[in-house]
Amino acid sequence: MVELLKIAGVSKVYYNEAGQRVEALRQANLDVRDGEFISLVGPSGCGKTTLLEIVAGLLEPTEGFLTLKGQPLKLKNHSLGVVFQEDSVFPWRNVLQNVEFGLEAKGFSSEERRVRSLEMIELVGLRGFERSYPAELSGGMRQRVAIARALALNPDLLLLDEPFGALDEQTRFLLGEELQRIWMETGKTILLVTHSINEAVFLSDRVVVLCSRPGSVIADLSVNIPRPRSIDTLGLVDFGHLTSHIWTLLRQSTSQGGVKAHASI
């Protein structure tokens, strides 16, 4: 497979309101192949969202560089689709208008916008809701709209920042299955940030584990469970092994992190 995204030695340091130096991310390296589904997991404060926001162009790295398709990552040259945990669907636009949003900004004709958006709405299973307003939809449906909006521009990379974090367990699992189907149908490369280890293993080809203070990559694990995965996957021995392995890694890193923090005082 072809390399799509390269994250090389990316660090992020910022100063908080009290003027203290915070090292959010140290020397993160990651290579993402075209069509891969990758998850970033780790405790809060491990810099996984920081890393995603750097890839999304919302933050500048303090050190290191990123390339997409071999070119330095620039929002002007590349198209990215991003879905956030927070409800980001525009309440003043109906479903169709929301999905068309990115296409409008890029100057597509109204005909192209319509055709492409209806296709995306169909893909995320919201057919029949084109004229509905976000206030009439459930939280899960609104995230589907956000996914359709992100996919409408046919982005090189789809970034998902805890997209199902605000949803209930059941909806969360159903949308996870949907996301797998969407990924398999579109062949998109997906980078998912989540704090749910089960979700990460269930969905991904690779799970990248980060530890906190400073945030850095401690493991990069392949998930070799056949697809399509379903509710039965959760009961597989491999699934159990992998999730418990990640749990162990995270526990070790937290205790070590605790020691490190203690030593630095």
Partner: protein
């Protein structure tokens, strides 16, 4: 659907009942210089509307309201957007905004008259001053409270600052911006009529005062009726525009 029809029925019913009661009451008392029946107000207004000099008063008032509102809306919107985008700046000047709010603007009316004479200019200035603050504050609050995640969406789509402003900030802040504009229009109208009432050679406010001082109750009420109808219509027009831009009923709660 049925529910909204019932609401409408009750709403109109209350007004109709009040009018009938007022009509009955005023028909049975004799002091016709204090209050006159609503039907006579309508009659008086119909007669007034055939009078050229009254039309000149209407024209004066509408020009004053229109000019002051356009000035206040333009300046207020621009200032409000800047303040909304720069919370620090907003915090710095907030005490001045509050002090400005507390001012009885009309105390400056004589100052402007001595500068510009008894023309439309002092009235337009007073009305614009009264109108602008509501537009500034509401626009600033509306822009300031646009969800940061909306801006992030715009940025990740590679949109420029101007595109984000026009396609995300403005539509998102429409309800609050229009609250400011409606308030601005109300204040522009109020300040214009009041200034005319206080001291002016022309205008609907001046006409009402003149008829009042001449004990011409029917003409006074006719003009009052017109002022009320025009003010409510102006507000209703803004509500219509707002509803076109932003469907309030479908806003997430």
């Amino acid at each position: 659907m049925r529910r909204s029809r019932e609401v409408l029925f009750v709403r109109l019913g209350v007004v109709a009942l009040a009018l009938v009661l007022l009509e009955g009451w005023t028909r049975t008392i004799r002091e016709s210089y204090v209050i006159i029946p609503p039907t006579m107000m309508v009659q008086a207004l119909a007669i007034l509307l055939t009078n050229e000099r009254f039309w000149a008063d209407i024209q004066t008032t509408l020009i004053e309201v229109g000019l002051s509102f356009i000035i206040a809306a333009t300046i207020g919107f621009a200032v409000g957007v800047v303040l909304g985008l720069k919370p620090t700046l907003y915090n710095v000047i907030e005490p001045y905004l509050i002090a400005y709010y507390a001012n009885p603007i009309f105390v400056f009316y004589p100052v402007f008259i001595s500068f510009f004479g008894l023309t439309m200019i002092p009235i337009v200035i007073i009305a614009a001053l009264a109108s602008v603050i509501g537009v500034i504050v509401n626009t600033a609050i509306g822009i300031k409270h646009v969800k940061p995640v909306y801006r992030k969406i715009g940025k990740t789509l590679g949109m420029s600052f101007i595109q984000i402003l026009i396609r995300i900030y403005f539509p998102s802040a429409v309800p609050q911006i229009f609250t400011g504009l409606r308030l601005g229009l109300v204040y522009a109208f109020l300040a214009t009529i009041t200034s005319e009432f206080l001291l002016a050679p022309r205008g609907v406010g001046h006409f009402i005062k003149f008829q009042y001082e001449s004990f011409q109750a029917q003409w006074m009420y006719g003009a009052i009726l017109l002022a009320v109808v025009v003010a409510i219509s102006g507000n209703a027009i803004l509500v219509r525009i707002e509803n076109r831009l932003y469907n309030r009923r479908l806003e997430a709660i």
